[in-house]
């Protein structure tokens, strides 16, 4: 379990939406074997009786008053966009033929 093959890394890269060269996949796979062995140590002490902590603060459902406050203009919101058109973000084709 504590090692990853080139193909497993390729699948993770696909899930994470990162194109990777074959060379990169192979070298990451070998690094992960070492890293996973080191991080797998958490399993030694994580007994069933220990509750998980996801966050340092015991906060739940923090609300603020529902009041309208000034926000970005469309120009400001689009100022960093790689492409925009008619006050909208212009994006590449989302629905492919295979879909």
């Amino acid at each position: 379990m504590s090692s990853l093959s080139r193909d497993e890394v390729a699948n993770l890269a696909r899930l994470a939406r990162i194109e990777m060269s074959d060379e990169e996949l192979v070298s990451l796979a070998s690094e992960f074997t070492v890293i996973l062995e080191a991080v797998a140590r958490v399993q030694e002490v994580a007994g069933a009786d220990v509750a998980p902590t996801s966050h340092p603060l015991p906060l739940r459902n923090v609300f603020r008053p529902d009041v309208t406050t000034p926000s970005l203009t469309p120009e400001e919101a689009l100022s960093g966009a790689p492409a925009s058109e008619e006050q909208r973000f212009r994006v590449p084709q989302i629905l492919g033929e295979e879909a």
Partner: protein, 498 residues
């Protein structure tokens, strides 16, 4: 003047001995003369800084009541959004992005009339311990330009040590304020999680990230702490409680009767002899100042590093999904017929560096079905155990202490091909982030074997940040009277006028 502390500069400004414009210009000149060697800055906002300085001078001339640090210049880590000023996070994927809004930290700096000189270099998205992972080249340690300044906030720490700025802002997810402070002979504080707003701080690991103050003295750090801290309705994890009285604590520096707990597990094998010697010496000085030194044990700390390298990558794999080439930042491969997914894949290949990709993939794995319980789930349990260790230790001591890092600054390139060796730098700083408590690093002297700065770490319970400032101020005063001059006076002169 640039070698003074921020408080001394503030006093000179208040007395009219210098204007903020002149003080800002002195620092801009210093940056122009030494930053080609240090490379602490990614962007220098000459025009913006001088405009801000001139506005403070005008307010002062009119006799307006100003905040304690008004008119003093500061270096800002490039992970915090500043309206209209390039914000890259050390990444190619954000090259040229100018945020349309201010982070709350920046808004607070502006409200306090603190002059922002520019944006400092960092490991890409704050992932690293050496600033070598910046897409824009490494920062060099002013003590020895062939060595790392720590990371991820190496630029902020180096700017202080190079006298390019008397104040800086860092962010600390696993030690990114404290470890750079330690290896550059400066002071850095990670406040209690939730003490400083994360609004506009580009997220790496949301449950661990915390912005904080950096400076050359404990008092300056406290003044900056109070300027940026406080509740912010725009950050749901911001603590709605009064800011700890850190300035008063730094001014009094009283440790009489305080119990200081030495964490047994954070000192010993793997710590450089010079680091251990300076640590022991600091303990003796604190005992002389009236503190009681006790030993505490935190047995689960040995699992902290492993848990951190599951939790932080898991959260980062989710947080960095926002860099999708659609709304801001880089877009690659947007040719006729290319799908959104192909554009995302190509953009993220080109835009992210090696370490960022490594952590996104590791996080994607740790969160994936079938492995979630074994990795991310177990790491969350370790987080509980670490918090429990702190709770028991704080029942026996008011603050806990350790060396900030196991070694002094290493050579640039020395560990860049060994991720695990690099991760070990943060072994003593990570537990603090896991539990969300406060942590400070301040200089404890130079290691005998290499003459490089060593950091002393002080940890305080949630929202008791004032305690680390009391202890820090006491130790700083004792060390200063032993040395006769601040530690940075021993650093070699940089090119140009010292």
């Amino acid at each position: 003047m640039i070698h003074s502390s921020a408080s001394e500069m503030a006093t000179a400004l208040a007395k009219g001995e210098v204007t903020s414009v002149a003080l800002t210009q002195l620092h801009l000149d210093r940056i122009a003369s030494v930053d080609k060697d240090v490379h602490a800055f990614l962007h220098i906002d000459t025009e913006g800084a001088l405009a801000q300085a001139s506005a403070v001078d005008a307010k002062r001339a009119k006799g307006e009541k100003l905040s304690p640090l008004a008119g003093v210049p500061l270096a800002l880590k490039d992970v915090l959004a500043q309206k209209g000023v390039p914000t890259t996070c050390g990444s190619k994927i954000l090259e040229g992005w100018r945020p349309p809004y201010d982070s709350t930290v920046v808004a607070n700096l502006k409200k306090n009339d603190i002059v922002i000189l520019g944006k400092t270099n960092m490991d890409e998205f704050a992932m690293g311990s050496s600033t070598e992972n910046s897409a824009y080249g490494p920062t060099h340690n002013p003590w020895d330009l062939s060595r790392i300044p720590g990371g991820s906030g190496g630029g902020s720490a180096a700017s202080l040590a190079a006298f390019e700025a008397p104040l800086a802002i860092g962010t600390d997810t696993g030690g990114s304020i404290r470890q750079p402070a330690a290896v550059t002979g400066t002071v850095g504080v990670k406040p209690t999680y939730g003490g400083v707003s994360r609004y506009g701080l580009v997220a790496f690991s949301s449950s661990l990230d915390q912005a904080g103050p950096c400076a050359r003295t404990v008092l300056d750090t406290a003044l900056l702490h109070e300027a940026i801290a406080g509740h912010d309705p725009r950050d749901a994890t911001s603590i709605n409680a009064p800011v700890p009285q850190v300035v008063a604590a730094a001014k009094s520096g009283d440790v009489k009767g305080m119990k200081i707990g030495v964490v047994k597990e954070l000192n010993g094998d793997g710590y450089q002899p010079g680091v251990r010697a300076r640590f022991e010496e600091s303990l003796e000085l604190l005992a002389k100042a009236g503190a009681e030194i006790v030993e505490v044990s935190c047995p689960n700390f040995e699992y902290a590093l492993a848990a951190y390298y599951l939790i932080a990558p898991s959260e980062c794999s989710s947080n960095l999904a926002r860099f999708d080439a659609m709304r801001y930042g880089l877009r690659v491969g947007d040719v006729d017929g290319a799908s959104a997914e192909e554009v995302m894949n190509l953009t993220r290949e080109v835009g992210f560096g090696r370490e960022v990709k490594r952590r996104i993939i590791l996080g994607t794995y740790a969160l994936s079905s079938g492995y979630y319980d074994a990795y991310y789930g177990s790491a969350q349990k370790v987080r509980t155990l670490i918090t429990q260790d702190f709770t028991s230790a704080f029942a026996k001591a008011d603050v806990l202490v350790s060396p900030t890092c196991p070694t002094t600054a290493f050579k640039i390139g020395e560990k860049s091909n060994d991720p695990l060796a690099m991760y070990l730098n943060d072994i003593a700083t990570i537990p603090v982030n896991m539990a969300g408590i406060g942590g400070m690093s301040l200089p404890s002297g130079l290691a005998d074997e290499d003459g490089l700065p060593v950091g002393f770490q002080i940890m305080s319970p949630v929202m008791k940040d004032e305690r680390m400032y009391s202890v820090g101020a006491a130790l700083e005063a004792a060390l200063l009277s032993k040395w006769g001059a601040p530690i940075l006076s021993k650093a070699p002169a940089l090119g140009g006028v010292a």
